[in-house]
Amino acid sequence: MTGGERRILHTDGVSVSFGGVRALVDVDLDVHESQLVGLIGPNGAGKTTFIDAITGFVRCRGHIELDGHDLSSLPPHARAQLGLARTWQSIELFDDLTVRENLAVASHRQSVWAAVRETVSRPLASTTAMDETLALLGLEPLAEVLAIELSQANRKLVGVARALAAGPRLLCLDEPAAGLDSRERAELGRRLRSVVDAGTPTLLVDHDMGLVLSVCDHVVVLDFGKVIAHGPPSAVRRDSKVITAYLGSAAAELTDPSLESADEESRAGASEEP
């Protein structure tokens, strides 16, 4: 749907093997400006490995380009500084820093000299960009709370906020909805949509199709490390290969994926009555 817009992420033939296991086989995936791209697949399909590969945490073959820069040979922190931000499946916050400080670590661009100079420089005041990120995800009231004190759902959100704080060119989220209940998932979906609409293209990984099919513009389906389908949610939903890959409980869900979120909202409303 957004073929004419600028290509932010472009991968070409990305392959990863762990010993004998071929975790990714020639994956081509593009993310365009103002797109929310979903990457789904059953457990073990290679979704996390794909994020690890593009962010530089596993060695891979193939070509990776971010906004025209070739990333293939850069270390993780250099990729991050070029604007590639990510979260982890297990949340990895800096527990001893406050929410605001967690964001401040990420929003920082540095050289060696700047780092030396900073050993004496004044503490960084809160920047407006950071406040905007907090506001976008509804986290302002938690800004001064230590990360370790947060609830699970909020930790997920802070993980997203931290990735966003650097003002990335591309945001990669690895199962941000895992461990949340269905209401929190729907809320997260809404927040992510607003993040993308505010100008940050996003790659959203999940193993559960409900969330991805309801909020994404474009969906890529992985199975055993290979792309088995891609296209707009409506097409992917009906793809027979996808239904086979997800056979079982997920197949039933596929027959009417829109029902779930609508159902959630009505129940949410109902429980509100005193």
Partner: protein, 667 residues
């Protein structure tokens, strides 16, 4: 050539001791994932126990067999105490906390032996036959072969036990995956206990058997843990056979090194063979082991909450600094000379602990070598004055710069080594520097120490001999106190403020999670290098002050054991905060608190060490954040009441999604 063989065979004695301790280390690691620094101390306690029972120290004399039996019971009892008192309560603590606990045990045991038996070396009663056998024309004492044979038999026995018994299978299963092991009904607590008891038994037995060869010495025996750790590293903390063989070989290598030092071609230091070669050898062996076997220890699938002490933001920093400054100025003037000296020593102690705050508190790397870096600064300063005539202020500036550079160099080579492995390497490095550089009379201070004349600036004496000496008019001068105080305050404010800077946040991000920090754009390597540089800078400053403080500088002040003690005090005070460093400075050796206790109640410094070791274990169990951290948390809790209600209001809004709507519905 024959002599070479003879010395190689003689080395089997210490080799057996090292191998026995290494077997204990491996056992404890496999049983509970703890690197028990106190394993050598167990051998020492057993050695002293046997000596006392045999020589009638307690008023009665026993024969060899009953004494040995009771000694082994004592060693096992020490093991049980360690397990119940320290290891079990810390089961889910971070590996570093466990390592620190074993350090507490080491210090306690050492202090107890010093208090009980004094510092003089005891000649342990021989337990093995003193006859000799002829080997290819050489006369070799038979005890060497018995010792080596014993430790080999033990290693084979342990390997068989682990391979074929149900207990061994269970331990292996639990170290693969503790959760799964618990699900099938194995108790990690029991397994850990049995392994610790076995480890104590082995270390104790070898301690008794080998003591007659190496003599009873409460300084050197616990430090046999360092070569034993080298052997255990070769074994990847897993294989009993390799640990045993490596231990024996290290003993042989040390003995051959000793033989070499008797040769005319061996480098000398003022007529004597170069000191510290054996410690240097062990350090190099550890480096080789790390490269060869990998720097990271085999992981364990255990239930661990890897929570480190938190790093609170400093509050009202300048106010605290001003108050502390005023109090100290007054104290420096009115205190009698001995308390003035103790206060100055406390301040310098606080500075050296601040270097731990940076590297361990902020960045989470235990580096034992920081005190040795202080020593480098001190000796550099001394040699600049005596050999090159470069005095104050250029001398200390060069000394600190050299130290900082050296610290960064150490860091560059240790970048891939982290956590517990880093503690092991830096411990070996600290020991090697102490024995090889500081004891050397050309490079270091020799036995008498190396002079450091008082600093003068524009003809004004700023050192301990300056003319303004406080109310009682005795040395050390209050002027020197003011100098030390100014430096302490400046560095304290600087290190505390670092926590608030962007660099400080990145340090804590690296400590929390290197992977996530890199993903957030943090250059982990640079942050670590800068942290090592800063920490070494601070340590270097402390070293130059130590040199001026006593007018001369010697190796004992910078010994590896002193460094371990300082780390213990740092944990007790609170290793993540400057206020903790100040507390640590006040309770460290020869500082204000121990001095007051000694003077008023006649409680000697060794009691302070004993209490310090125990306090470290208690701190780790009760207040992992140290005294300063616990104090901070109490304040926080009082404040949290207000914030808690605000938080609750907010989370209900998250649930309701439409806060205004709910509030309208309510009435």
């Amino acid at each position: 050539m024959k002599l070479v063989l003879l010395f190689a065979l003689l080395g089997l004695g210490t080799g057996a001791l090292i191998a026995g301790i290494a077997l204990g280390v491996v056992l404890t690691y496999r049983g509970s994932g703890i690197i028990n620094l106190a394993t050598g101390a167990v051998a020492m306690v057993a050695g002293y126990a046997f000596w006392s029972l045999k020589t009638g120290f307690f008023g009665f004399q026993l024969g060899t067999l009953p004494a040995l039996a009771i000694t082994l019971v004592v060693a096992t009892g020490v093991g049980a105490l360690m397990e119940v008192g320290a290891f079990r309560p810390l089961r889910t603590a971070s590996p570093l906390a466990k390592l620190a606990a074993s350090l507490g045990i080491l210090l306690t045991a050492q202090a107890a032996m010093l208090l009980g038996f004094g510092t003089t070396v005891k000649a342990a009663p021989p337990i093995l036959p003193s006859s000799a056998v002829a080997v290819v024309g050489l006369t070799v004492p038979v005890d060497r072969f018995i010792l080596a044979g014993a430790v080999i038999v033990i290693a084979v026995g342990l390997a068989a036990l682990y391979r074929w018994s149900r207990f061994g299978l269970a331990t292996r299963a639990a170290s693969e995956n503790e959760v799964a092991a618990m699900l099938v009904g194995l108790s990690p607590n029991q397994l850990s206990m049995v392994n610790t008891l076995l480890a104590s038994l082995v270390a104790g037995l070898m301690g008794v058997l080998a003591a007659s060869l190496v003599q009873l010495n409460s300084t050197t025996l616990p430090l046999q843990i360092v070569p034993a750790l080298a052997a255990a590293l070769f074994a990847r903390f897993t294989s009993f056979g390799i640990a045993c063989a490596a231990g024996l070989l290290i003993g042989i290598a040390q003995s051959l090194m000793y033989y070499a030092s008797t040769q005319s071609w061996f480098p000398t230091d003022q007529g004597n063979p170069l000191p510290g070669i054996q410690q240097l050898l062990v350090f190099l062996i550890i480096i080789i082991a790390m490269f060869w076997r990998g720097a990271s220890l085999p992981g364990r699938g255990e239930l661990v909450e890897r929570r480190l002490p938190s790093v609170p933001l400093p509050e009202r920093l300048l106010r605290s600094a001003v108050i502390a400054g005023v109090v100290c100025v007054v104290a420096l003037i009115v205190f009698p000379y001995d308390f003035r000296q103790a206060l100055i020593t406390s301040l310098i102690g606080a500075i050296i602990v601040m270097s731990f705050v940076v590297i361990t508190g902020y960045v989470g790397q235990i580096s034992v070598v920081q005190l040795a870096l202080s020593g480098v600064a001190g000796f550099t300063l001394s040699h600049l004055v005596t050999d090159a005539g470069i005095g104050f202020p250029l001398g200390p500036i060069i000394a600190v710069a050299v130290t900082t550079l050296l610290g960064v160099l150490v860091a560059v080579s240790a970048l891939r080594v982290r956590g517990v492995s880093l503690a092991v390497v830096t411990l070996a490095a600290a020991l090697a520097m102490e024995q090889f550089i500081f004891v050397n009379s050309t490079w270091g201070g020799g036995s008498g120490g190396s002079p450091a004349p008082s600093p003068h600036l524009f003809g004004v004496n700023l050192g301990p001999t300056a003319s303004f000496r406080g109310l009682d008019g005795d040395q050390p001068s209050a002027v020197f106190g003011f100098l030390v105080l100014a430096v302490t305050l400046a560095l304290g404010v600087y290190v505390a403020n670092l926590r608030r800077t962007s660099l400080g946040r990145r340090m804590i991000a690296v400590r929390a999670n290197e992977r996530a920090a890199a993903a957030a754009g943090v250059h982990v390597r640079n942050v670590k290098l800068i942290a090592f540089g800063l920490s070494s800078f601070v340590a270097g400053v402390a070293g130059t002050l130590y040199a001026y403080n006593f007018g001369s500088i010697s190796a004992t002040r910078f010994s590896a054991l002193t460094a371990l003690g300082l780390i213990a005090f740092a944990y007790i005070g609170g290793i993540t905060m400057v206020s903790g460093a100040v507390l640590a400075g006040l309770i460290s050796t020869e500082a204000l608190f121990p001095h007051a206790f000694d003077k008023w109640f006649g409680i000697s410094g060794n009691w302070a060490l004993l209490v310090g070791g125990l306090a470290l274990i208690i701190t780790l169990r009760v207040h992992p954040e140290g005294i300063a951290g616990a104090n901070y948390q109490r304040k926080q809790r009082r404040r949290a009441a207000g914030r808690g209600s605000r938080l609750k209001a907010w989370s209900s809004r998250w649930r309701a999604e439409e806060p205004t709507a709910t509030s309208e519905v309510k009435p």
